[in-house]
Symmetry: C2
Subunit: 461 residues, 2 copies
Amino acid sequence: MSADWFRRRFLPRGPLPAQRPPRPRASPVPYRRPRFLRGSGSSSGTADASRRPDARPVRSPVRGRSLPWNAGYAEIINAEKSEFNEDQAACGKLCIRRCEFGVEEDQEWLTLCSEEFLTGHYWALFDGHGGPAAAILAANTLHSCLRRQLEAVVEGMVATQPPMHLSGRCVCPSDPQFVEEKGIRTEDLVIGALESAFQECDEVIGRELEASGQVGGCTALVAVSLKGKLYVANAGDSRAILVRRDEVRPLSSEFTPETERQRIQQLAFIYPELLAGEFTRLEFPRRLKGDDLGQKVLFRDHHMSGWSYKCVEKSDLKYPLIHGQGRQARLLGTLAVSRGLGDHQLRVLDTNIQLKPFLLSVPQVTVLDMDQLEPQEEDVVVMATDGLWDVLSNEQVARLVQSFLLGNREDPHRFSELAKMLIRSTQGTDDSPIQEGQVSYDDVSVFVIPLHHQGQGHSSH
Amino acid sequence: MSADWFRRRFLPRGPLPAQRPPRPRASPVPYRRPRFLRGSGSSSGTADASRRPDARPVRSPVRGRSLPWNAGYAEIINAEKSEFNEDQAACGKLCIRRCEFGVEEDQEWLTLCSEEFLTGHYWALFDGHGGPAAAILAANTLHSCLRRQLEAVVEGMVATQPPMHLSGRCVCPSDPQFVEEKGIRTEDLVIGALESAFQECDEVIGRELEASGQVGGCTALVAVSLKGKLYVANAGDSRAILVRRDEVRPLSSEFTPETERQRIQQLAFIYPELLAGEFTRLEFPRRLKGDDLGQKVLFRDHHMSGWSYKCVEKSDLKYPLIHGQGRQARLLGTLAVSRGLGDHQLRVLDTNIQLKPFLLSVPQVTVLDMDQLEPQEEDVVVMATDGLWDVLSNEQVARLVQSFLLGNREDPHRFSELAKMLIRSTQGTDDSPIQEGQVSYDDVSVFVIPLHHQGQGHSSH
């Protein structure tokens, strides 16, 4: 992606062309639930005729089907928000092949791919919006993108420290020292691969949706275990936390129009054309109206983390670029997340104003060193879509996890049972810790990944 | 500042005009040391003929002259780096007047300014580069800008919670609720005032330097006490830390081409014209050369926090936008800081490539709640320019502070003695905790601000 590309794509110089619906050239992405749920209930997963809470089953893998690291999983469809469950999930083994270099001749290398050079594991949650298609494509695609990106740099992951040149040749004797001084470690290559994989997957989704004439986007939260480390990559408002006996630690942070206000306002400052004169980039405590004209009201702009007062002009009465508070906050009145995959065609209703320029597909990645952590018996990572976190705090989830695991030491399916229990806790049942009126009507999907006895023997030839 | 302004100023469409030296219309800013050092030694402060360490005196206020909160101060000029000490300092009482509203008639208010409505205190350090002028102007000006910005919003600081409208009139009955939901507090107005004051001061410096035909820039680190809170605003690579009996807490973070890499690379991605084809925005472990062409080498771009490999093309051999490591890191080969005041005319040597578009004048502000802190006898804030932190870690400074204060409970000038001791510790004397070769040859300036028994009775009519 280049700046020119950005300009060509998002900043047409002439009048905006009328928005034309994409012409489908491929068949639509079929709706499905995650493969590892096969045999666990209604396979279509579409809405029941009556979508009362007790009619919406909590689904999890059938007993006997085990997920990587014996992780648990459960999900529930939303209460009449959409026809389909727009969440998707994926997990599996990640097999990275190595291209071994043979004889070098005139810059042409003979490459031999060994079968499995590095293996890791992968768990992913995707929370779709505007239809289920983008989340399904992401669940089908992202792990392949990640494998490809990791294979492209795996030679650099072999040494204790990544070499300056992927070939391992030392052009300059002090190259290792330059890499050392920059503090570049193997984990930086994995982070880079995750960043590239998210972007590649976003491009694939864009092409596929255009070809099939579908629309939509999704968030992506991914955990990857590789060489003794657990990487958590997040783009959107899902969340992962580490729960230990005496500790709750966030492993991701959310990207919403509120948390990314300054980045989004700054883009609108640089490219005011993106707002087409219809929105104001400034933030006010509420949408302004005629009575506010000429008054000094609280506001903030892209460069401010504090607040100040400005005299209200007519242009300040426009609809705000970011509007609403907390869960209600929307970008351009349309979208509740500011990072994710897809949404290539998304426009503000009845306008040509595009959302995509304001969205990032690049994730934030945090790294958990399993050797340093020395995981104990009850240590788990809980990954869930926003439906869970909207009604339960990190601490509430941690308490539920801790007390459940203490009372269920033997059941081999206890992590899926735990995931189911967490989802039931969002549905306002009697034993739920949530308060009246805080029931989740959203799709909810949860992975519980146990860390004990895992992440060892991570490298295999 | 608008995007159009940015484009007009930094992105000329035609060929770049030849750089013409500004025509001086005003007399140059005279060199001086801080006013509160009067009587403490050579008033010119220029270089001694022999600038050996023992010939460079550590200066601090004369005994009997007390600074706000009985703070201590000391400074030393650099060892032959420049003719003048390019650091500057300022401190004093901050008196905020209130414009009281009288009878309202046809939108015109009768305003009455009471003498002192709110009082606070102010300590500031400025570390100049490219000459002492910008730092002197900042020391002369920033507190006035801050007073003006605070006076502009002081009506909003009166209530428990800032009102939506500065006039206090409630246009919409739920306005207080909107402000509440946004979580806007009095301290956000102070943060906003600090952000605006830094920008206003930057504009003043730009005008003054252009008028006097001088050049240069400076960092700015400011501490402000107001209504029971201590605000620390930082733009540059100076640093403030809180030192308590059992705690060391950073109150600022540094803004350098390294710490702001992604912001700077992103600007170059958006406006490639800013590099005039002379620089590459990509980061590599070292500057690339012909031998690297066609090889896959480690790199990262603006959207990456991890690293990946790319095949080296000819354009990658250009000089990097950010080059060097740690203290040696430079923006466009020229500047070691990425935030600060001034530098309006600064260009890459022998080119028309401007530095200013990459620099921010807006500070990051942290807030210390004095009531929550309940400061004890030995609790202090240490503010210093980078000359101190280049050779002493936060922990080393904290240990020096703690042991000094334990042994000096009675001396009323002990905080200036402590500041002097900290500076002597950077000069490689026998009792210094720093290692051989880690002597500071830079200008060093230090404030030590005691917190015990301070910040009370903060509001006066």
